[in-house]
């Protein structure tokens, strides 16, 4: 009896390995590119934020609705979320278990874009010596509103979002503090950083609709075909007036 069980376990293990190998071999498609800005950069200067409401907020901070990477050529845009919109079919994906860390530091959110999977834990920390209030303002997910009065890097509160949607977060103590949450049902999304590039990895070959989302410039869609073994390249260009 026990022997049969042991063999069974071994067989199952081997089968899982084999299957994983097959899946990995197939899902190695990549979409990469950058998000380019075209237009007058003077219209989208970052302005300093007046933090005088709380003398604990000492470090100068700037507005974050548009952050252009002026050092890249061409000029790219930071904090654009690129994701697969269509083409994955009905496939279900297990949520990421690694918690997403959102820190309130110098009276602003770090990072400014919270891109997570459904049911992925979001850990919220207060890195400032002042009280912050985290107010999530979703339409479909459950609203959350609580304060973190103590500076605490270790514990913090953990949240999970259940439904796919983009929504805002704000701090009611420091009205200028804001961030965006984007919830996805799949792991194929990326946020552009200081170089304005993105990369969606581990995609099965196929045809996809890819979406680029920016809080001020809106969304943009593109059809991309992914072939096995060769990264597909796709750049997005926003031309705001």
């Amino acid at each position: 009896m026990q022997k049969t069980f042991r063999y069974g376990v071994l067989c199952a293990f081997a089968a899982t390995l084999g299957l994983a190998g097959v899946v990995r071999a197939a899902d190695d498609g990549v979409i990469k590119g950058k998000v380019i800005f075209k237009g007058d950069t003077d219209k989208f200067k970052r302005s300093p934020i007046d933090t005088s409401k709380d003398a604990n907020c000492k470090k100068p901070i700037g507005s974050w609705d548009v952050i252009l990477n002026k050092k890249t050529d061409p000029i790219t845009i930071k904090n654009v979320v690129v994701s697969i919109k269509e083409g994955l079919g009905d496939k279900k994906f297990p949520p990421k278990t690694e918690p997403f860390k959102l820190t309130q530091k110098d009276c602003q959110y770090d990072p400014h874009i919270i891109a997570v999977m459904e049911d992925q834990p979001v850990k919220i920390l207060n890195g400032d010596d002042t009280n912050h209030n985290i107010h999530f303002l979703p339409k479909k997910n459950t609203e959350e509103n609580f304060s973190q009065p103590q500076k605490d890097e270790v514990t913090g509160k953990e949240l999970k979002f259940k439904l796919e949607e983009p929504f805002k977060v704000k701090c009611d103590v420091h009205p200028w503090m804001g961030a965006h949450v984007l919830v996805f049902t799949h792991p194929y999304f990326a946020v552009t950083g200081d170089d304005g590039t993105f990369e969606l990895k581990g995609l099965p070959p196929g045809k996809y609709v890819v979406e680029a989302w920016h809080e001020k410039f809106g969304t943009m869609k593109a059809d991309v075909e992914v072939a096995a073994g060769k990264p597909a390249e796709k750049d997005f260009t926003f031309e705001p007036k």
């Binding site: 970052r46 934020i49 005088s52 003398a55 604990n56 700037g62 002042t130 209030n133 009205p175 200028w176």
Partner: protein, 292 residues
Amino acid sequence: MRRCSWRIFLAVVFGCVVLGQTSVLRAQAVAPKDTGVKIDGEYGPFLPTDISVDGYQVDRLINVLHVFMIGLFVGWGLFFAFCLVKYRQRPGHRANSVLIKAKPSKYLEIAVAIFEAVLLFGFSIPVWARVKSEFPTDDPMRVRVVAEQFAWNFHYPGADKKFGKLNPKIIDLVKNPLGRMDDDPAGKDDFVSGEFHVIEGRSVVVEILSKDVIHSFFVPVLRVKQDAIPGMRIPIWFKTKEKTAGAYEIGCAQLCGNNHFSMRAVMHVDTPEQYAAWVKKVTAPPEEFKED
């Protein structure tokens, strides 16, 4: 047995009083740290420092009321104890709960009612009317205080002493927290800050507004407390004493939501030079923000 339960009851009451008092003291001990700057003035279990030229009147009223209340409490308490003992049921004597029907006590009651009416209509209302409708004429500073969950905004009219129009539809929490309109000439030189600055020894007229719920603008060292009510613009005034420059605490005195406790700001009482320097700083055209 009965005596024992009395002792427990007294111990619980005493315990509650001690706990309540220590938590009050502790709350006052942490207050200055939370504002982020060093707060001047003495705060303790009794009345805090008074930097307003009219504050002594409020203090006197508080003291007089307390003395009267203590007198009434002790007097009535003694009378109550006297009645309990004198008219208690005991062998040969039945407790009597029938009210007195004598004439003198009725006259006394009427006299008390007339006395209180005179206090209210003859003294309180005229004083209140004067405080609320007569404003200082010695060229006061004018500031609008706009409360919101959970912060204070201070709107200054600038050199023209005229406030520009505010439009709630164009409020931008990052760049334009009050919805100031660019096309209003009266608002051209206005400025908004999260700090409250006044000049020492000068009258100030403050208009109090709210963006959302009821708050209360409370400056303990000025003995000033006024509700901020959405849809209303409520003016109050005060004048600081000479040589009171420093930083003082502003709090919200009306439970307004889950962060009511951290809804505070700092009032800076400046010398004229300090005030001019601050105005220059906040009205300087903003430079582009660059990350270092």
